[in-house]
């Protein structure tokens, strides 16, 4: 789906509001957005809905002064991150100092193991963790601490809006795909700072002190370490760093004697080069990768708009999926509600020998005892037959209708035409059905108005 890219921070804000509104709806004032629901947007798309949601969130945040509360978790995370990086710098420096020690000879491979070994191990773990999707491996202890600590502290606070906002931030920014890459980035930053600090301290030490570089092995074959040096040196030579040659390496074997400044500087360059090529550079690349992946996953992040919370909002913020218009107006639109007709008492003089007919009755209509329906007008044929009967008779007419059915103009015209043919009185009888169908008062009124229109007096309506 091609969507307009929304700022990830806006989406996080939406999620934070969702948590607050579901957890503590009474904590917010909705006065400012009350008018929004009255003017639903007319777009029907996902993008339009998101736009509306963001607009609503903006107002809600502004009206309730939530800005600070919502930004707090991120600030906390950044602060914790800074502390962790500071810690990394201290650790890196200490490691370098520790590895060089007091002596004036440095075991070159031991130094590399101390400075790069842990880094390499952690990088390996990260790679395994990220490719097998094991959160515990890919995120370092320090980074995990940075994520966990602020929220443990936050949890204890009494201000629950803040807790909810923090929880939402944690869920969106530190868990799932986004969280994985954010934490990865912090891990890489940690090691980068560690290595930089270590290298910095090492360079400072080498500037101020004179070190002899030696190597030696007990278990490994004699030529393994010189061979390793040569292999490690290949990429360094490409970027123009000096690497000790075979002679220089041989001269640096423990116990080989005094070193000259050329050998020393060759080893020093080799050391710094190894730190850059095998420590800093991979970390930098991984950090950039993590940064890129973080941005990508933030870009791809979509809130679950099918959560009940969003569905409910959708109903109120977005217009229905239709538009309406009147295309053939009613000229006599002003239709005042008719005055209710008061029911009159039935006349006591019920006509004897009246002609009894029904209009559109079904088999369920019940006539009162003593009255027998002579004809049921259900079509044109029966209507003509009844008309003929009426023309011949001189007596009254009793018209039975089903009280629960709605009289229409057609029925009204039919009754009026029958009534004009009668010389005697006309009675309208509202019949009940079996089984009983309840008759609403409005329905009764409709029959009374029909009677009025057909000039049947109200006291001639029997029900």
């Amino acid at each position: 789906m091609a969507l307009k890219n929304h700022d990830f921070n806006d989406l996080v804000r939406l999620e934070q509001l969702r948590h607050i509104e579901t957890g503590q709806p009474q904590a917010l004032s909705y006065a400012g957005i009350a008018s929004m629901e009255a003017y639903p947007a007319s777009g029907f798309s996902y993008a339009a809905f998101l736009e509306r949601l963001l607009d609503r969130a903006h107002h809600l945040v502004h009206d309730n002064h939530l800005d600070e509360v919502l930004q707090q978790p991120e600030k906390l995370f950044i602060r914790a991150g800074k502390i962790i990086l500071l810690l990394a710098a201290v650790l890196g420096g200490l490691a370098a100092v520790n590895a060089t020690g007091e002596s004036s000879t440095l075991n070159i491979y031991w130094l590399l193991v101390v400075l790069l070994g842990f880094n390499f191990l952690s990088m390996l773990l990260w790679c395994v963790g990220i490719s097998l999707n094991i959160q515990g491996l890919s995120s370092g202890i320090a980074a995990q601490l940075a994520c966990w600590l602020p929220f443990q502290l936050k949890k204890r606070e009494t201000n629950s809006t803040g807790t909810l906002a923090a929880r939402a931030w944690w869920e969106t920014c530190l868990s799932g795909r986004v969280g994985r890459w954010r934490i990865s980035m912090l891990t890489h930053q940690f090691w980068l700072v560690y290595l930089l600090a270590g290298m910095g301290v090492l360079i400072l030490l080498m500037l101020a002190k004179q070190y002899d570089f030696v190597w030696g092995t007990t278990l490994l074959p004699e030529n393994s370490l010189p061979e390793l040096t040569r292999l490690l040196g290949i990429p360094m030579q490409h970027i123009g760093l000096a690497v000790p040659d075979g002679q220089q390496i041989a001269a640096s074997r423990i116990g080989a004697g005094v070193q000259d400044s050329v050998i020393r500087s060759a080893w020093a360059e080799f050391l710094v080069g190894a730190l850059i090529v095998y420590g800093l550079l991979p970390r930098l690349i991984l950090m950039l990768l993590a940064f890129f992946m973080l941005k990508l996953s933030e870009y791809r992040y979509k809130p679950d708009l099918y959560l009940p919370y969003y569905v409910t909002l959708r109903q109120s913020l977005i217009a229905k999926e239709f538009v309406t218009s009147v295309i053939d107006h009613d000229p006599g639109m002003v239709k005042e509600s008719p005055e209710p007709i008061t029911r009159a008492k039935h006349s006591r003089h019920f006509p004897a020998n009246a002609l009894v007919v029904g209009i559109e009755l079904d088999s369920h209509a019940i006539w009162p005892e003593g009255l027998v329906c002579q004809e049921n007008v259900a079509d044109q044929k029966t209507f003509i037959r009844v008309s003929e009967m009426l023309k011949k008779s001189k007596g009254a007419l009793v018209i039975g209708v089903s009280a629960h059915r709605l009289p229409d103009r057609g029925v009204q015209r039919m009754i009026r035409e029958l009534a004009t043919l009668v010389s005697g009185q006309v009675w309208l009888m509202l019949l009940q059905s079996s089984p009983v169908i309840p008759v609403a008062e409005s329905r009764r009124q409709a029959w009374y108005r029909l009677a009025q229109a057909c000039a049947i007096p109200a006291e001639h309506i029997l029900s």
Binding site: F322, V323, V326, R409
Partner: protein, 477 residues
């Protein structure tokens, strides 16, 4: 709130195939406007009243699939005096012997002045002549009268495909059969039951499919509409079921702490707090569901469900409610006497049923301890909690499921619900209900989503999924 926007309808219809024009016609008060409301799933369209001639103009609703306009539905006034219409047409026919049937209708429309008694009928015929397909709405509760058949005959003169729509079919099967037989005499077989009160989404789909089969030109566009509507509908039902699952989980997980001394005043005030919490949670859920399905709390009274004006009328803890849902009242009454209606007393965090299970598991060592460690600790300390008892939970679930069923099968037409029967419907609990309840009770933190831990989310979503599947009656895979 109605948003009138003729412009957008106009711009979208500028595509190669003009929009499908559907006229909804029928005798007065058969539910034409209700049908459109149901199709739009909104009570905002037109005016519905239990009287003749409520709709006196032709109103159009343009339906969209996403942002693509698909069709125009036209609500027309009801036909009331078909005999007069027939007479008028016969007069016109006698004067214009060489005209075709539809030309006669055109002449009738042109010759009917504004305040003529047949003005409403003229509006209907005018719209029929402008439309591609007619939906003829029939109230099956009405006797099959000659006048209705004449209506069909006159509408047939327009030479447009017509689909009869049977309304109010829910409790009137015999009448429906009678109508079907009568229509067969007109060679009309392709009818459709679409009860605007007891509405099912399937019926809407079938309606569009019928139109598809009649009008090939509009096939793909209608298919897009069907797919879109199905997607939206499924997601809506899914969201609603998730909301209910959330309610059930919150309720089961809820614990009210009571003092260690067994003072009855302490217990009963905790019981009141618990009952209030559950009531409120249920009420919130109801409000959310009504909003989701686009019912305002005023315009419905759900059939056989004690909901009025958006509130539950029958208290969850009222005596007799359990029985109404066919649940066992004996056990609940017994526990109720101890703590309060609908309350279970948990000592050490385990309900009595689970306590015996604990005994069985006690021998299995460390894994048991890790799982039940906290509970055992609580048991040793004598901590006591109040929680909602099994019967009330079952009742809550059944009530919500019934509510969801009604919401999913209800048109936006009904102003007044037919109180068909007061017979309770015995519902079914989801498979492994007791297991779900036990699991939730032992993880009280799941009730509040902000305390959910990463390692729990899988189990949590599994339980949610089981509840949602049961609510929507999805087959268990």
């Amino acid at each position: 709130m109605m948003h009138i926007d003729t412009k957008s309808a106009g711009t979208v219809s500028m595509q190669e195939v003009p929009l499908l024009e559907i006229a909804v016609v029928g005798h007065t008060n058969t539910g034409k406007t209700s049908l459109i409301r149901t199709l739009l799933r909104s009570t905002g369209f037109g005016k519905v009243d239990d009287a003749a001639g409520t709709t006196r103009h032709v109103e159009r609703a343009t339906i969209f699939a996403g942002s693509e306009a698909v069709l125009n539905l036209h609500d027309t006034p009801g036909i009331e005096d078909v005999y007069a219409l027939q007479d008028r047409l016969q007069v016109i026919a006698a004067r214009n012997k060489r005209c075709t049937q539809s030309e006669l209708l055109e002449k009738f429309v042109a010759a009917t002045p504004l305040h003529d008694p047949l003005e409403q009928e003229a509006k209907v015929i005018r719209q029929v002549l402008r439309s591609d397909v007619l939906l003829y709405v029939i109230d099956v509760r009405e006797p099959v009268l000659e006048k209705y058949l004449i209506e069909i005959e006159i509408l047939g003169k327009a030479m447009k495909p017509m689909i009869p729509i049977f309304n109010f079919t829910a409790a009137h099967r015999a009448e429906l059969d009678l109508w079907r037989k009568k229509l067969a005499a007109f060679n009309i077989y392709a009818s459709l039951e679409l009860d605007t009160v007891a509405f099912a989404f399937e019926a809407e789909k079938r309606l569009y499919q019928k139109i598809q089969s009649l009008l090939e030109v509009h096939y793909t566009r209608l298919q897009r509409l069907i797919d879109h509507r199905a997607r939206v509908w499924n997601q809506l039902c899914m969201s609603a079921a998730r909301r209910i699952a959330g309610l059930i989980i919150t309720t089961v997980c809820y614990r009210e702490h009571t003092g260690e001394e067994r003072s009855s005043a302490d217990t009963s005030s905790a019981a009141i707090r618990l009952q209030d919490f559950i009531r409120q949670a249920e009420q919130h859920c109801l409000a959310d569901l009504l909003k989701m399905f686009n019912f305002t709390d005023k315009d419905i009274e759900l059939q056989k469900i004690p909901v009025q004006n958006g509130y539950w009328q029958l208290d969850l803890f009222a005596p007799g409610v359990l029985k109404a849902y066919g649940l066992d009242i004996g056990s609940a009454a017994l526990k109720g006497a101890a703590a309060g209606a609908g309350i279970d007393l948990m000592t050490g965090g385990l309900s009595l049923g689970a306590a015996s299970m604990l005994g069985a598991l006690a021998g299995t060592g460390w894994s048991t301890f890790r799982r039940y460690g906290k509970e055992i600790q609580a048991k040793i300390r004598g901590t006591r909690w109040l929680c909602v008892d099994d019967s009330t939970l079952q009742l809550l679930y059944l009530r919500q499921r019934q509510l969801l069923d009604k919401l999913m099968n209800r048109g936006h037409a009904a102003c007044h619900a037919d109180q068909v029967s007061q017979q309770p419907e015995r519902g079914e609990l989801p498979d492994g209900w007791q297991q779900i309840v036990d699991m939730l009770r032992q993880n009280p933190s799941w009730g509040k989503s902000q305390e959910l831990h990463a390692e729990d989310t899988r189990q949590y979503s599994l339980i949610e999924k089981r509840l949602v599947d049961a609510l929507l009656r999805n087959p268990v895979l």
